[in-house]
Amino acid sequence: MYNIFTIARRTIIQLARDRRTLALIIIVPLVIASLVGVSLPSKQMLNTLLPALLATLILFFGFLLSGIAFLRERAQGTRERLLASPVSRLDIVVGYLLGFLLFAMVQTLILFFYAVYVLKVDFNGVLWQIIVFQLLIGILAVCLGIFISAFAKNEFQMVQFIPLLIVPQIFVCGVIFSVDQMPDYLQWLAKFLPLTYAVDGIRALMLNGKGLMDIGKEIGVLAAYAIGLMILAGISLRRGNAT
């Protein structure tokens, strides 16, 4: 546990010292939410879109920040130094998770309060349950970022994975358009994408008055994705395999 907290602590200090990135993590979601808030013609559309935005942004930022942070670890040689030290791969992955999840939670809370109290999105749920569900999406996103960073040689290549892995999910998983109205093959595809379950789950928690116990399927699928990606992230950090 000590090593996990040491790595989490370092990740937090590192991000906190990068003031510009920190400001962007907080300001960008608010700008996007404001644009959505003023551009949508009806309250009903706002109610549908903003909870989905909450889930999408945590996936997006979790993936991007952890992916680039890991890439930098590799490029500046600190990954090599860590892998030559007594820390285990699990320490590294979980340490990163804890560090990034703190920022993901701050982002979620700011966006949540902005959506509910400023943009007046309907809220019919329990805040702590939303935080728990968002944490699950955050774990998935950070592990996805760590795993995918193994396939990128630089930041430019890492960013190219966003249109490949994140943007299609925004269109296919019901963030903007309802999955039911899509062609059959896209509906079939949506069943395999984690954002579908993230969006369904967060809407159920925020709008439909449902609790975590009522969205067992969504939690189960996201947890399976998170565990699978955590294992893949661990494999990508294998000692004796440093390049």
Partner: protein
């Protein structure tokens, strides 16, 4: 426990079809500075990365302080990679403190005292609160050395530690390396400069993934048969001898 700090037997490693380490065997006594000398691409860095466990050998075996490379044995080993390999957003103190923590210095007071000692040793007291990104190349090298020695490992791997250092700093680094070996620690240092080689107690000349000569600087110079031969002469002598043998 064996007296050898490192025992390497018939070690091989390939990058694809390219043989980077070609059947290397060596044994290093404890408490000495052991130099790996060779030109760029000779396999020095790959050999060090194999010995610290970052790469898996294609064949052969490695024992560091009697054990194969593993995270469990890593606490006894210090590693300074070729690149400074530091968290550039963090300060000098935060970098050294981080590596002190992950190498097991858990007691806050003892860790703080050790971090202070290391910062004094690398002569960066005025810069302790400065972010690494704002430091010069030589200062980053010093912080990197600090991170590698903070847990006082009995076996230390230093991959080209003096590259980019000014002559004054190079002398100071070597003074410190010599104080570490006097205290019984073993140092493995890779370099391509004869100046570094002259400081080592034992040397391995490397070329194309092989060790072409092994011995003390005096023994290697004497092997040339010329009384005034320099280490550079000795290095060239072994390269030419290898070429002649290959052509026979």
């Amino acid at each position: 426990m064996s007296d050898a700090a490192i025992i390497v037997n018939n070690l091989t490693f390939n990058y694809g079809y390219l043989k980077v380490i070609d059947d290397i065997s060596l044994e290093t006594p404890r408490g000495i500075s052991f130099g790996l000398l060779g030109s760029n691409g000779a396999g020095k860095t790959t050999l060090i990365r194999l010995m610290v466990g970052l790469l898996k050998p294609a064949g052969g075996s490695i024992l560091c302080l009697g054990k194969p490379p593993s995270p469990a044995n890593a606490r006894n080993i210090g590693y300074m990679p070729q690149l400074p390999s530091l968290y550039t957003e963090l300060t000098v103190e935060q970098n050294i403190d981080f590596f002190a923590r992950i190498y097991g210095l858990r007691d806050r007071q003892a860790r703080s005292a050790r971090v202070n000692d290391v910062i004094k040793l690398i002569d960066l007291v005025p810069k302790r609160k400065t972010q690494v990104i704002k430091l010069s190349g030589g200062m980053k090298q010093r912080v990197s050395l600090g991170c590698a020695i903070v847990h006082q490992p009995p076996l230390l791997f230093l991959d080209e530690p003096t590259v980019g250092l000014d002559p004054e700093l190079r002398v100071r680094f070597w003074e410190h390396f010599e104080s570490l070996t006097r205290a019984g620690n073993t140092l493995v240092i890779s370099s391509h400069t004869m100046d570094d080689a002259a400081h080592c107690q034992q040397l391995a000349f490397m070329r194309e993934g092989k060790i072409i000569a092994l011995g003390s600087p005096a023994e290697l110079r004497a092997a040339t048969g010329k009384p005034d031969a320099s280490l550079e002469d000795a290095f060239l002598y072994f390269i030419r001898r290898g070429e002649v043998q290959a052509n026979v």
